[in-house]
Amino acid sequence: MSGLRARFTGEQGGFSLDVAFEAPAGGVTALFGPSGAGKTSVLRAVAGLERFSGECRLDGLVWQDETHFVPPHERAIGYVFQEAGLFPHLTVRANLAFGLKRAGAASVITFDDAVDLLGVAAFLDRDPATLSGGERQRVALGLALLSQPKLLLLDEPMSALDTAAKQEIFPYFEALRRSVALPILLVTHDIGEVERLADQVVLLKAGAVAGSGPLNEVLLGEAAIRGAREAAAVLSGRIAGYAADDGLSEIAVGAVRFLVAGRAGETGAAVRVRVAARDVSLAVERPSATTILNVLPATIAAIEEVGDAEAIVTLRLGDDTMLARITRRSVRQLGLKVGQAVFAQVKGVSVLAGAG
């Protein structure tokens, strides 16, 4: 079987872990959960930096089972740590060469391509200590890639960065997931990172898997995520066109078309759109005069009360699903029921840059 298949059980320092999950051979799988859920322990166990009992295999190759334990330096992994994963005694260039030298052939990426992809050419001859946090993480990513891994492990690579540095580094991660055909395991507690980068999500809670599946399924299927104030659906689509006179881009998601302000990218490019539950309101008849551009026919799949006054309504639009967060009074006054056909008025749609 291809991809990663892992199962770890055991206790370490009063913390007990019992997880089993799979990650497909391509794309980003997020290990998502609150701090203390065991995300980093799982990642370290996959790398062989920590040892639990269980098994771990990549593309059928055994890294760990009852009788084997392959040490980290014999696993084809690239690992990006939260911080300080660079060698302080080496220049950026020598750091990058460290991984390449020990990997042998450049099967994943060449030195020059890594330098281009991550935009580190300007500081190749500097010491890591002189770089900003974001620059350091870009170099760390290059270092991990140049070791020519078959699996890339990212341990909250942005958590030590401030908001500005995060914004600066995001495009590099997005470029990475587009241009490198590697399975990536991303540990994060930030739902924003999951929405922008993940294809699959493994939800961890207190050392156990609380749910897993494709991104939107987990975002909408897990009560805790669905019920959060910033809950949103993330849908994959393509840019269908751009109307220059209105300055609007049209994005096709299945049979549905969304209009968003501004030029989202080249026509035909794959994009990800985020529809926040709070930005969706419902009407039982098609509103005739409204300033809202995106009015979409939908079917109510579920109504769930949250908080004191609100309800989360799960909506089906063709093959896709999204959420509306409305008041319970509206549910009552409009007599909304599961199975009912409604019109979803989407006030805001954001395009998650360059994702697919």
């Binding site: 330096h73 690239g78 690992y79 740590f81 300080a84 060698f87 302080p88 005694h89 991984g99």
Partner: protein, 225 residues
């Protein structure tokens, strides 16, 4: 410079150099082990290594004398090349100095290894560097300032040692009579002039060694920072 000073100077430099080299080969691996082992008994090993810091040199010298003497293991070793004892000989002096200065090498090196932390070594492991590779290409370069400190301290400590060399060396001119023993002899025989030359020379030498090390170490730390 009085000509009979040359022999103790050369002897002392030879002793300190050889001792330091041996300590680099022996002390650095011990320091590495102490910084990496997760074994409960490791502090006992650390305590044994640190013992010469608190033990009176004469006590250490006494035991070394027994150890190196004709009826000890040193005597057995010496008999391999037809000798009778390692005591009162230059090799014996080296052994004694190595043991006596061991903590001066191990302590700073261990601190330097521990200061690296787990992260750079883990990072190296994820980049396909095996255990030896990690030691030579990550741990040693990152700990070099501490190792250099240890080497300089060991060198200086060996130059200045008195009790141990007196006990196991026996103050034999040209063989085991080091500078500090010579100094003692000059003062005993009221040869103040030579004692002055020697003392002033030692002060200047020590100052130069310390100053050069500090400058060099600062440079290393700046690179490593």
């Amino acid at each position: 410079m009085p000509s009979d000073l040359l022999s103790p100077i050369l002897l002392t430099i030879a002793l300190a150099t050889i001792t330091t080299l041996v300590l680099l080969l022996v002390g650095v691996p011990i320091a590495w082990g102490l910084s990496r082992w997760r074994w409960a008994g490791k502090e006992a090993v650390a305590a044994v290594v640190a013992l010469p810091l608190v033990l009176p040199p004469t006590v250490l010298g006494f035991y070394l004398l027994l150890l190196l003497g004709p009826s000890g293991p040193g005597g057995v070793l010496a008999s391999l090349w037809g000798g009778r004892t390692l005591a009162f000989s230059f090799p014996g002096l080296v052994m004694g100095s190595v043991i006596y200065s061991l903590p001066f090498m191990v302590q700073p090196a261990r601190n330097a290894f521990e200061a690296i932390g787990a992260r750079p070594l883990e990072a190296a492991a994820t980049l396909r560097a095996g255990p030896w590779d990690r030691f030579f290409s990550v741990a040693l370069p990152l700990a070099r300032a501490g190792i250099l400190s240890g080497a300089v301290l060991s060198f200086a400590h060996t130059v200045g040692e008195f009790g141990v060399v007196l006990m196991i060396g026996g103050n034999i001119p040209g063989n085991t009579k080091t500078l500090s023993l010579a100094m003692y002899d000059y003062v005993e025989s009221l040869d103040w002039g030579t004692a002055h030359v020697l003392a002033a020379g030692m002060v200047i030498f020590s100052f130069l060694v310390i100053a050069a090390t500090m400058l060099f170490e600062r440079r290393l730390r700046r690179i490593a920072a």
